[in-house]
Every structure is written in structure tokens, then in C-alpha cells.
Symmetry: C2
Subunit: 261 residues, 2 copies
């Protein structure tokens, strides 16, 4: 990227705006998560480090071990996150040492057996250690103006994720999953994003650039699987985009669960 | 009702439990609503006074005028609410005096023209006066275990309310409706009920006794309208009841909007 590209496409104001949006969502999800200095924290499925940066900020004195199965994502994470984090290329079932706390964000939704994962993670915790789980739930998405075509494209994403072995509706299952894995003191609460014209940063940053962009991102896969026609897809994305127009509203709930071994 | 009936069916513990549940929901909806002593407050569509009691508690010094079009509901409201409230048998369009604040809860969802109502109410407010609107949105209901039959019976209620001229999905429209009626400083936020086994009062008081009971209440009407078969209805209510069983979860969002004339 040249300096000219940067000035045109990503001026300081735009960078600040994008950063503000990420901050808004991060505050929503990370509020209440802070680990004591010296505590051993395992982050499972850190990906490119999107949550890792906020974990470091919220718990600057903790010793963070962040694992992922994808080496290229880990390379990006290493580039954006302070050197104090110990990144490791590993599957969670390969981890054997003890931790004080485990943090799992947007990971269970992609696993074939989230129960087995939580049960294994519980075994890594010292007695009294805690787990924090954050997951979305696409069934929480409703909006104005409402339109069947919008639900159709969201359902395509849910179906594709199910066929890949995951569950895009897992938010509502966080409490039952934690309890079934043997955790105690389970506390689960929705963390809700609601956007309307009085919150333009959320309209742009969440309705349009996060949720609608995420659905739009599976277009080729959905069409290839015959889950929607090109026309249905266009109508659905158009309908989602209209919820980001003047007078539109958008609701989405994440779920955050905390529990003790 | 005899004293024996009372002791058997509604013992002091049961009354306290039911009261606690109502309190939980009232706290959620009324938090932040308090009018200054001496201020003139209009409550539109007070019904049997379910919200009036909380308005009085939250704003003991305000002068509250509570109106409803149903005389028999007003009689019940008069019996349960302190004499300081001025109850009036009236349609909102019959009101002509000026108010400092207007409070509208679970009313717009039943109106054929909520825009006309809000525009008229805005005209009753002194300059700088405020309106508070609280509405539910049945599209916000999602739950575990999920089941198509449960959505089917909820859709029956939504359809019946639409045929009666209302909108059971109006929560998401609170902001656009307030803005379109000319209000300024519109601020709308979801107020979310989330119930799981760790909150047994909400499971019983909201999932089962409020939401599922409300849907179950339109059985005869839904069957008569041919919106569902008896079998579909039973399956749907059974599925909703399972969300109140051990391991079930339930999510519902109300919307609270405040705005200035």
C-alpha cells in the first residue's frame, strides 16, 4: 500500500471512525473481563488477534497464552499484538498445562462438539479457575424495515455454518453448554447491539460493515450450494442494507457466559 | 374467594413470588422514569393500572392523569391505585389540556395509526415536554430448545394482532415512529429479558407465566381463524413450555424510547 492509497482510502478521520466502531463493540463484549497480574490465561482460537488486543489492554499484567490451529492467522496476530503474549500453533486438545482462566470468543460456534471442548477446557483449569465464553446468535437479528428476503440470506449463512459442523445460533446455548460441562456459578447475559439513526457509528460499523458484510461474504458459497438464487440473494442483501438507511433499525444479541471450575 | 381458597392457592410465599416477578419486569421497564413533583403527566391507555402503580411509585409527587377507553378496566385500575391518580374514561384524541410529560406503554402496538397518535400526543406537550414509549417486539423471542412449532404459534399471535389493526413487532419501530412524529432528542434502547435456570423467577414469571401464557391465550381465536390445527397448536405450546424446563433459555426484548417535543 502506498502513502497515496492510504490518504485517499483511509484518511486519519476514517481510521479513527473504524477504530471507534471496533472500540464500541469491544467495550460491549469485554466489559467485566479483567484478569489479575501474574494470572495464567488461555485464549482459545485467537485467530488474527482481534480479541487478543483487548484482552491485553484489559489485563496488562496477566500472562496470556493465545492458541490457534491456523498458522497464517497467528502470523497476523503476532504482528498486531504486543510481544508479551505467548502465541502457540495448537489445537485446544493439545494443551496440557494448568491455567487460572480460559477465554473463548466466537469459537464454539464453529466446533462440531462444543461440549467436548468445554469439558476439556474445564480440566485445564485450576480449582476455582474461571472460563469466559462469548458467542453470537444470528436468530437474535431483527430489524426495520423487515423483509422475508433478508431472513432468507441470513438463513443461508446459518445453514452453511451448520453443514460445516457449527451452530450460528449457539448464543442461546451458552448457559446449558457450560452447565453440562460441569462448570459452577454459571452466569450468562445477552450483550446487545441496537443501532438506529441516532447511533450512526453503530449503523455503519455494525449493521452495514459487520453483520451485512458477514452475510454478503458467503454469497458464492450459498449460490453454489443452491440455497438461494442470484435474484433472491440480491434482494436479501438489499433488504439488509435498507436497515442501515435513514429510519432503519437493527438488533443483535451476543451472549457472554462466565463460570467457575 | 374464601380464606381457604386463598391459603391453598395463593399462600404468602406464592404471592411474594408472583410479586417479585412483577417487580423484576417493572424495574426493567421503569428504570430511568421519574417525573418531578408537581409535573403534569398523562398516561395513555392505562388499562387495569398495571403500569400506573409503578408510575406512582417512581414519581410520587407528580400529578398523574391516566386515561383508557375501557370503563371496566378503569374500574379495576381505580381499585388498585392510590386516589392521587386522576383516572379518566377517554380516548387520547379527546384530551386537550397541556402536559409536561406523556407515558405510553404497550399501547401503540394495538393502534391502527400509531403515527397519528404520537403526532397528537406531541401537540399536547408543553415546549420541552417529554414522551416515554415502551413496546414489546415478538420478533425478539428466541429460545432453546428451538422448534418450528413454537415459532408457528407466535406467528399466529402476530397475525391475529395485525388483523386487528395492530403490530406485535412494533418495538423495532419506536425510534422511526417518534422521529417521524416530529420529536427531538429521540433515544431508544432495548430492555431485554433473558431467562435460564440460574434465574428461576424469570423462567417462571416471564418465559412461562407471561410470554407462553400470552400466546396460549389466543388459542381459540387462532384455531377459529384457521391459522393452526389443534395438533400444531399443542406442539407449539409444548415447545414453548420446554424452553422453561431445565436447560432451556429464553430471550425477549422490549424497547423503551424517550424524546422531547
Amino acid at each position: 500500500m502506498t502513502a497515496t492509497d492510504y490518504v485517499h482510502g483511509y484518511g486519519p478521520a476514517e481510521i479513527r471512525r473504524l477504530s471507534d466502531q471496533a472500540e464500541t463493540l469491544a467495550s460491549l463484549l469485554h466489559a467485566g473481563t479483567a484478569y489479575p497480574p501474574g494470572s495464567r490465561v488461555l485464549e482459545v482460537g485467537c485467530g488474527v488477534g482481534a480479541q487478543t488486543v483487548h484482552l491485553v489492554r484489559g489485563s496488562p499484567g496477566a500472562h496470556l497464552t493465545s492458541i490457534d490451529v491456523d498458522e497464517s492467522s497467528l502470523a497476523l496476530a503476532r504482528a498486531r499484538v504486543p510481544e508479551t503474549v505467548e502465541f502457540r500453533h495448537a489445537n485446544l486438545f493439545d494443551i496440557t498445562e494448568e491455567f487460572d482462566h480460559v477465554f473463548v470468543c466466537f469459537v464454539l460456534e464453529h466446533l462440531r462438539d462444543p461440549h467436548a471442548a468445554l469439558t476439556y477446557l474445564r480440566g485445564l483449569l485450576r480449582p476455582g479457575g474461571t472460563i469466559t465464553v462469548i458467542e453470537g446468535d444470528h436468530g437474535s437479528a431483527f430489524f426495520h424495515p423487515d423483509h422475508p428476503a433478508a431472513h432468507k440470506v441470513i438463513d443461508c449463512l446459518v445453514t452453511l455454518q451448520r453443514r460445516a459442523g457449527g451452530d450460528a445460533l449457539i448464543g442461546r446455548r451458552v448457559e446449558p453448554l457450560l452447565t453440562a460441562a460441569g462448570f459452577r456459578e454459571v452466569r450468562t447475559r445477552p450483550r446487545t447491539v441496537y443501532a438506529d439513526r441516532t447511533r450512526p457509528d453503530l449503523v455503519a460499523g455494525f449493521t452495514r460493515d459487520t453483520f451485512t458484510a458477514m452475510v454478503a461474504g458467503v454469497r458464492e458459497e450459498a449460490l453454489a450450494a443452491g440455497l438461494a438464487t442470484q435474484s433472491e440473494w440480491r434482494q436479501g442483501i438489499d433488504a439488509l442494507n435498507r436497515t442501515a438507511d435513514e429510519g432503519g433499525t437493527f438488533h443483535y444479541a451476543f451472549f457472554k457466559g462466565t463460570a467457575t471450575r
